[in-house]
Symmetry: C2
């Protein structure tokens, strides 16, 4: 075959060689009904032979699908976002879609998003925290009726799908686990208040404490921003207080790593002198010494699920309405928590 290097075949080449119309080729490629088996096979054979793949741009321009998924994040760093990307990419590959990544750093930065949305008609976009809580962003998406899936809990927006774990319940159980290990004075480091999960996790913690008759005094809770440094700083406050907690529950693993580092810097042994619990099951949790007990979120699967929702919703408008998928979390017990002998 004239599979000239560097020269791409077009749909009309395939049509000609297969002896059918372009439209039939298009039907085969898009898995539409009303194509006979023999033509379908013929088209597929020719397409394979020519190494034909439809042009993204042409499809996007002509049809009402773009085969592009947008991912908007606040900050592309960290293991969390890597996992989100991996999950999305996995499904995109299967579905023949492409992932366009962009950063929406400042809050309320809908101007940038609006520009992007004016130039790309995404099949759907995935939002990760805290972008998924930015009402300006959400509004921009809504205006253009872009199918949107938000990963993580956040502001109410019943018209947009949401994928999450039950952060409240997970934090509740994590705290109960600590209590079950004999801890009574359990410190808590809050997450970035801009992230929807932060409040849920905090409430899970305090409800669990109260449920077991433990008081959550002010010196037991410290603010945090989900960063290593903020975890370190918060731990300093907690660990230097006169009545040191025997365990610290940090709202994510990066902060938990900060806690471990801080404790060690202060000459405290983890988990001997202080137990540490994290959240997310980040890469960091596995490499710290000791490895950090944490709550695993199946982030990759959740992200893949987001793409599934988008793809399923194709066509049917409002298919994403009131759609909330809750994934299971898992308490991962490692070495950073010890049982307190009464």
């Amino acid at each position: 075959m004239d599979d000239l290097k560097g020269k791409n075949a077009t749909i009309s080449d395939v049509a000609r060689l297969a002896g059918v119309s372009m439209k039939t080729v298009s039907r085969v490629l898009n898995n539409e009904k009303y194509v006979s088996e023999d033509k379908k096979e013929k088209v597929l054979a020719v397409a394979a032979e020519l190494n034909y793949r439809p042009s993204l741009q042409a499809r996007g321009l002509a049809g009402n699908r773009s085969f592009m998924i947008g991912l908007f994040v606040d900050d592309p760093s960290g293991d969390y976002i890597s996992k989100v990307q991996r999950g999305i990419l996995r499904r995109c590959e299967e579905a023949g879609c492409y992932l366009v990544v962009d950063v929406l750093r400042e809050r309320g930065n809908d101007a940038k998003l609006r520009q992007i949305l004016n130039s790309i008609r995404f099949d759907g976009v995935v939002l990760s925290s805290p972008v998924c809580d930015d009402v300006a962003v959400l509004d921009a998406l809504r205006e253009r009726s872009v199918p949107t899936v938000r990963i993580g809990p956040g502001v109410d927006a019943t018209d947009m799908a949401q994928i999450e774990i039950d952060d409240y319940k997970a934090a509740f159980e994590a705290t109960e686990f600590l209590i079950g290990q004999g801890h009574q004075r359990i410190g808590f480091i809050k997450g970035d208040p801009n992230h929807g999960c932060s409040l849920d996790r905090e409430q899970g913690y305090s409800k669990a404490m109260r449920a077991h008759g433990l008081t959550v005094s002010n010196d037991l809770v410290a603010p945090g921003m989900f960063s290593f440094d903020s975890g370190y700083t918060a731990a300093e406050k907690l660990l230097k207080s006169e009545s040191r907690p025997t365990a610290i529950f940090a709202s994510n693993d990066e902060m938990a790593a900060g806690v471990v580092a801080c404790a060690q810097a202060l000459g405290l042994r983890v988990p001997l002198d202080v137990s540490v619990m994290g959240f997310d099951d980040d890469f960091l949790a596995t490499i710290m010494s000791p490895a950090i007990t944490t709550v695993r979120q199946p982030i990759e699967d959740m992200a893949a699920g987001a793409v599934d929702l988008i793809l399923e919703a194709k066509g049917k408008s409002a298919a994403l309405e009131d759609k909330t998928v809750i994934f299971d979390y898992e308490l991962v017990k490692r070495k950073s928590v010890r049982k307190l002998s009464a």
Copy 2:
């Protein structure tokens, strides 16, 4: 203005309202010559009013630019790739381009790339190690004459631009620094042999050793794969050998972190009992206790530079030929290396 929500303005809307032809609008938007100041202003004003942004798909289909930059990585995890993405994104935003990310996991996986390339005509692609060393990938890119910039050293390919630091020299100096601190028995953990930089760094190490009359015995060098675990394993070998090195130079920070963890697990204090040196200035290097002395690569700037090269090369074919940009590295001295008192 009739800035209807959800409805995008097109170039013909702008043309009509500005009282010029579509082509003139196009000229303004693409910064072409031969447009008078007054029309230019008028067009810009109308475009701003309508919140107009040209359709990516239409531009890509009609013109010979796609405004899409591809980034192909082996594995989207880790601080390194995050930095690459950030650098690319920064420039893309300025240039009105978009970033399409994809994973090319298996070596020699040119089939997947060929498919992608058949469907998207990238303005250019950025390859990070070890994808940039995959000759099958390089060939696929060459066939379709896609402007390609490779970040990191690797196989010779004078037709593709390359952005790197002098890994050899950096490793040489890092080793010399260790020697200058009084270390004589310096262990070395190699990088993943699939990455071009691995050999350079190893040679920098061994040349420096020899230059200072130190022998590089076999039990001083251990294989590694750039991962935390491989660093840990390599450190075990090195640290348990009868004649323990006083310093270990790991080919990247993730492995260096593994070395620190292993040393501590073996009851050795860093840097008191063993000094540790890393490479990259990864996030991990800053959070370990002690923080790891390392070689900083300005990865973000390098990635941004890659986009610059692509954009500059626009049009002029062969503009990327024989183009190699060397960035400066920097020795970042932290706490993981101590001076040996003679």
